[in-house]
Symmetry: C2
Subunit: 248 residues, 2 copies
Amino acid sequence: MALAVQRALALLRLFTQSRPEIGLSEAARLTGESKATVYRLFGTLCESGLVEQVEGTKTYRLGPAVLDLARVREATVPLLSVVQPVLDDLLELTGETCHFTQFNGQAMAVVATAESRKVHRITMQGINTLPLDTTAAGVAFLAFASPAVSASVLQEAARDAKEKAELEARLELTRARGYSEYEFLGDDEAFGVAAPVFRGGSFAFGSLAVVVPPHRMQPALFQKILQGILAGSKTISMKIGSQLRVEH
Amino acid sequence: MALAVQRALALLRLFTQSRPEIGLSEAARLTGESKATVYRLFGTLCESGLVEQVEGTKTYRLGPAVLDLARVREATVPLLSVVQPVLDDLLELTGETCHFTQFNGQAMAVVATAESRKVHRITMQGINTLPLDTTAAGVAFLAFASPAVSASVLQEAARDAKEKAELEARLELTRARGYSEYEFLGDDEAFGVAAPVFRGGSFAFGSLAVVVPPHRMQPALFQKILQGILAGSKTISMKIGSQLRVEH
DNA sequence: GACCAGTGGTTCGTACAGTGAACCACACAA
DNA sequence: TTGTGTGGTTCACTGTACGAACCACTGGTC
């Protein structure tokens, strides 16, 4: 394919919430390209408005033209305008952090969030993607993804036969229930509950999830969350043109 | 600069709200490039997720990765999260269609809107950009833009000395008032009132406007609109890190 | 069925566009 | 002063991008 274009687009992907601005030399180090190449490609990206240089400094950041693109995309395939009200309602119902993620080919990309107002919360600040195998959102998506996608991901994610079997069992359970739960242990312990979201077919493309500090997960809250994500995922799936595939 | 990259980015700009999907041959005609070139560039854009092919057809449309970019941009330079609530409040206050536009180098790009709920309204549906010289938003921006920008635009927009003098007078009046008004005549007649929005400097980067069917513009409504856009533009300017330059 | 116009897509010779080594100016720290 | 780092420029060379020519398929008309 077009190598120069690939290199330019790889520069766009360098910008993240945790690294919103990048200098020329740093970008060259991160991509492995020469400074001259990076300088020229950034120049072209700046001409298009997709990248801009920060006033007063020489660092680069994403430019306003990305908002234009997103606006056209949102009008073509409405998502945020459908998802955000659902997240806001879910936050009111549960009081916990909610998020919607969409499969981007490798992981679940965070599309929209509604952040808990509690001081002790699970935050989505600075989180761009979630792994497929170790989050409720990833598992909910994977359980209802197309066979090609789930086979490919199963192969990559599981490190050995035992982990593969565990993941497959978890996916089976998720398919039977219509939702997934996952307790992530360790410093960043979190309890997530998620439901798959469908669009234009019988396979999932994303997930609606609520994440809770584990010590707060009581049966009453769990029921609220479950009710909210099942209703919310159904609303989103319906509004963007599909049918929820699981019948209880 | 990087010609292949320019060509690829020009393909991105083909997608608009009124033309959300494009086939290979059409894109080749629109850009003047060969089908082979367009096919290859679209392939690379599809790999990156910025473009995708519509399921069941061969047409291309903007892909979900543009939402990722927009999310990073919004986190880096918050705009929509600041602007949309202001637009919603302004709509409640006036009952008329409100919009926020940002200068994109050639015209005012529509960033966000809040649409009147009246059946007879000025709509922003399908509008991507507004001209600088024949809209209240354009004039409000231009009156407070940097001298380099306004000189360049004055030269391009005005067709002869008379038009140039009229535009300059309009800009002077706008600077003295701190807002602009413009009545567009003809089939699409509309009365717009707009205030400039500033960020990170003493020059405008965008405009906050309300547009009304002319027959509905009464003094009481005009006062409401004026109050709303002056307060709203000040809120936006303050929240994204600047000072409103005009003191009344 | 034959023909035509249109679609998306493939191949490969060639030339031109992209690359990066070498260099520059500047800033800052020791 | 020396060294290290930044953003930036130049130009020889070659690798990549280009497009003319071609393909398969679809749908419409006669």
